[in-house]
């Protein structure tokens, strides 16, 4: 079956044991995103530290409901970007977006994406790309709002 190419072990692991899940204090912005086609939902908070180019993603906490792909993607994302600067995390986010839009054609940068390369197989299934991107879009939105409120 082709299923294994989508449901990589890494994805199933994160789905069963989500990392950094649960909403935490403190935070500068909270957003709620939904996937209107299937009803998947995520509430996500960001906590930033530092200033300027060195502004740090101190914490990403979330509460979510949805399929294995959307749940695992939120977990992998939090794992990946907590501790990075906002600037670095945005680069990772853009690379992940490019991977998801590649229809399975991209050669993902494993150094940059780490566990998130496991989602390469998902990009072959147009109906599931939104699932994989739900948390990432929420994080970008929350970060933009946090920076708008306090440009640091």
């Amino acid at each position: 079956m082709q299923l294994e190419s989508m449901y990589q072990e890494v994805i199933l692991d994160h789905y069963r044991n989500p990392q950094h899940k649960g909403l935490r204090e403190p935070y500068e912005a909270e957003v709620h995103h939904v996937n209107p086609t299937c009803g998947d939902e995520v509430t996500l908070r960001v906590h930033l530290a530092g200033s300027g180019d060195e502004t740090l993603v101190q914490d990403v906490s979330y509460d979510s409901m949805g399929c294995s792909i959307s749940q695992a993607s939120a977990s992998v994302m939090a794992d990946l970007i907590i501790g990075k600067t906002v600037k670095e995390a945005m680069v990772v986010g853009d690379e992940f977006l490019a991977l998801m839009q590649s229809r399975g054609q991209a050669e993902p940068d494993e150094d940059l994406l780490e566990d998130a390369v496991a989602f390469a197989g998902v990009s072959k299934y147009p109906a599931r790309i939104k699932c994989a991107l739900l948390a990432w879009m929420a994080w970008k939105d929350a970060t933009a709002r946090a920076l708008e409120a306090d440009p640091r």
């Binding site: 079956m1 299923l3 949805g66 399929c67 294995s68």
Partner: protein, 430 residues
Amino acid sequence: MSAGTVPAPGGALLPVELKKDFPLLARTVRGGRPLVYLDSGATSQKPVPVLDAERNFYERHNAAVHRGAHLLAEEATDAFEGARATIATFIGAVPGEIVFTKNATESINLVAYAMSNAATAGPEAERFRVGPGDEIVVTEMEHHANLVPWQQLCQRTGATLRWFGLTDDGRLDLSELDTLVNERTRLVALTHQSNVLGTVPPVELVAARAREVGALVLLDAAQSVPHQPVDVAALGADFLVFSGHKMLGPSGIGVLWGRRELLEIMPPFITGGSMIEVVRMEGSTFMPPPQRFEAGVPVTAQAVGLAAACDYLTELGMDRVHAHEEALTGYALEQLGEIPGVRIIGPESIEARGGTVAFTVEEIHPHDVGQVLDELGVAVRVGHHCAWPICRRYGIPATTRASFYVYNDLTDVDALADGVRQAQKFFGTG
């Protein structure tokens, strides 16, 4: 058939050779697997006679109807009006009561906007006026198409939206019928068959109460007209809507049926060419129904195709179509019900229920169930199926939905049940 009994598989079924009438069903899908199409609730596949009718119209008779002084225009108009007559007969109506639209959604919007437009129309449109203090009643099991237009109408006019709740077993809760539908009610809009639960509510009962208080009744029949014999005269409704593409017909065509005396006094929604009587720079007058509601060059080949679909279904016999789906549904409820962790969302008996089976699988999200089924060639729908309030009512994020039609057979149900077991195996929950 009594509640809870499962018909002897095979007894009431249509012949499996029927599948050969549907070219698409012969194709293979992922990994070269045969296709098991269980998503007819979303849209149906098309038999050769429907495809031929559309093609023949384009090859032989294509012209703009109701205009032009040439032979083709005459033939196209005859084909179009002939289609209207065939479709009218199919639901026990007369041709003058059939309005062609894009789909059921547009048909509902047509009535909702006509009700808004009544505010500025003449005194004859009084029956359609709504405003503060008036109430529109819907149900918690409506497709968004029969909910959002009424929310919007209330927002535009200041009327109040009220709704029937659902019982735990997926039926309409009618315990408050007499208070919900009262002297303030102007219109009751409800489904004739739920596109998620499969439930067929007792619409005659609701219509009778609506009549007592002088309210209009609109039935969303998008999931009933394709699957059971429908006689508009027997239902007690004022309006009934459905889509062509869910009943073996082409996409892009739908129907609004309305009682003639109501269509006569209903203001138009979409205006323009074809629907006018006299146009002057200062203003215009409109054609009688159904033309008043059909502005622009109509979707002609699609009407011809839909009439061919009605002919095809009539030849099968709608009683047999209904019995066929009842047999498949009973078998599916039994097969899925046997799987530990599967929860049917909707009635668990075939009584007053159509061939739509929504379910959840413990600890596996519907999107993931659907993915495994897709891998096996089984096409189902996953999500909230454009009826989000149903999910909220039953405390679930989404469901997997299988929906049956004339071309499905018992092996399709077996493939579905087998696929659910494989999903459980794959995710380690079964």
